[in-house]
Amino acid sequence: MQFVKMVITGPFSAGKTEFIRSISEIGAVTTDETISRDAPEYGIKPQTTVAMDFGRITVDDDLVLYLFGTPGQRRFDFMWEILAEGMLGFVVVVDSARPETFREAKSILETFRAYAPTPYVVAANKQDHPEAWTPDDLRIALRIDDHIKLLPCVATDKESVKNVLLELLYAILDEMDA
């Protein structure tokens, strides 16, 4: 049996957990915790990922794809390195409607690029939000090179998530051909 791994990363509350839930064949195993009143994130969203999200897509008896979602908060970033080890590629999920997270998105992207020179794509999530920045504007805002795929995404929509994962796999194939 062969296992391959992709990492779904991005800033706090970017939609990583939803992304995995939309495509995973098992109810995604999440380690969401209710945010305590003392935590700085209290009042922002009811739960947050403290270790990782975990989804699975079985190809056949010999091959399984695992999706690992990273915790978005910096205080859990010690987990990123562990999750990144041996990844086939990664997806950076960005909340297109919250420019206050763009700087962190760029920083996370650079960190994961430093972990391993694997292909990656950027998912411009929440494109259904009325205040979402367009993928073209996000590319400039995040300084994403033209050869990196930046894809519109709605993480709650399975077809949209499928498209992002397929584009990542195509990028991996391109890298193999290069």
């Binding site: 062969q2 391959v4 791994k5 800033p11 706090f12 509350s13 495509i23 064949e25 700085p40 994130e41 209290y42 009042g43 922002i44 897509i57 079985t58 190809v59 056949d60 091959l63 794809l65 978005g72 908060q73 910096r74 010690f78 390195e81 562990i82 990144a84 080890e85 041996g86 990844m87 086939l88 590629g89 420019p99 206050e100 997270t101 763009f102 700087r103 962190e104 998105a105 920083s107 960190t111 430093a114 972990y115 391993a116 020179p117 694997t118 205040e131 920045w133 367009t134 504007d137 400039i140 805002a141 399975k158 499928k162 994962l165 397929l166 796999l169 195509y170 991996i172 194939l173 193999m176």
Partner: protein
């Protein structure tokens, strides 16, 4: 679709860079910041009060990626005031023209002033250009104002617009930047090198650089790290950051990893710094099977 945000997260320099690169047409509006009790989280999960737009403080209008007009709440943008500020009219002339010319648009008033030999067309263009730049340079020092960029919103009819290339505005605005911390966030790694973008001749056309900036440009080469350029130009880290940041935002140079540069080391969980193992090695057939599976999901 409007671009909304706060200068604390996306600076005026970055907005101008975006407008320049995307050749956008529209109007940027900046508002007084009103701090609320509601809390929001930034990308790292740190909580902070939500800032909402208050009274409009300034506007800047762009056509095809060029700055054409700016106005600020406490600056009277009337043509007579602009010409008075530029020294082309005295206070009394400006007052009379404002009173008698209130029913005319700026364009109509300008024609009358030119025909009456008060000013020349060049005087008007120069004065409006300087008025626009003064406002935008001021705005570039603001740090927490909410902003909205509305696409395809043109200047009010009758206003005189003077197209200004944003590359020079970005470089000059960066020279005037007081706050250094954002530069360190934007350009943390001085071991990276610089290269020219495609068709640099077009990009540099009409750009006015200082002697210091030209010296840096002279060393742009994917083989030279920014540190090496700083050393060759006898610049401190802060000085080179300021110059490179301006050139980057103006789209005149791009960052590149110099040849032979080792992959960056990362902070391990135990605090040590090391290079992590490479990504997984899989066969092409595995990826193709994954593609087929996800397609049918």
């Amino acid at each position: 679709m409007a671009l909304k945000g706060n200068l604390a997260d996306f600076s005026t320099t970055q907005i101008l860079h975006l407008i320049n690169l995307a050749k956008k047409t529209g109007t940027l509006r900046l508002y007084e910041p009103v701090v609320t009790k509601e809390m929001i989280a930034d990308g790292a999960g740190h909580k902070r009060p939500r800032i909402i737009p208050g009274k409009e403080r300034a506007t800047a209008t762009f056509e095809q990626g060029r700055l054409v007009l700016a106005a600020m709440g406490d600056h009277d943008g009337h043509l007579a005031s602009v010409l008075h500020k530029a020294g082309k009219l005295n206070a009394e002339q400006a007052r009379v023209i404002r009173e008698r010319g209130s029913k005319y648009s700026d364009k109509a008033l300008a024609l009358m002033l030119i025909n009456a030999n008060y000013v020349t067309k060049a005087d008007i263009v120069r004065s409006i250009r300087q008025h626009t730049l003064d406002i935008v340079y001021d705005v570039m020092t603001w740090q927490r104002e909410p902003f909205v960029f509305e696409e395809n919103v043109s200047p009010p009819p009758g206003r005189i617009t003077v197209p200004i290339d944003l590359k020079n505005v970005i470089i000059e605005g960066t020279r005037r930047a007081r706050e250094i911390k954002p530069l360190e966030e934007e350009l943390p790694n001085l071991d990276l090198a610089l290269k020219f973008p495609e068709s640099p001749g077009d990009k540099f056309r009409g750009v006015r650089l200082s002697v210091e900036e030209w010296r840096v440009v002279g060393f742009v080469n994917p083989k030279n790290s920014i540190h090496q350029i700083a050393k060759a130009c006898s610049m401190t880290d802060t000085e080179i950051r300021r110059v490179v940041y301006g050139l980057l935002q103006a789209g005149l140079v791009e960052l590149v990893r110099p040849p032979g540069m080792a992959p960056p080391k990362v902070q391990a969980a135990d605090g040590t710094r090391r290079t992590l193992p490479q990504g997984a090695q899989v066969k092409r057939s595995v990826v193709e099977r994954l593609i087929a599976r996800i397609k049918e999901a």
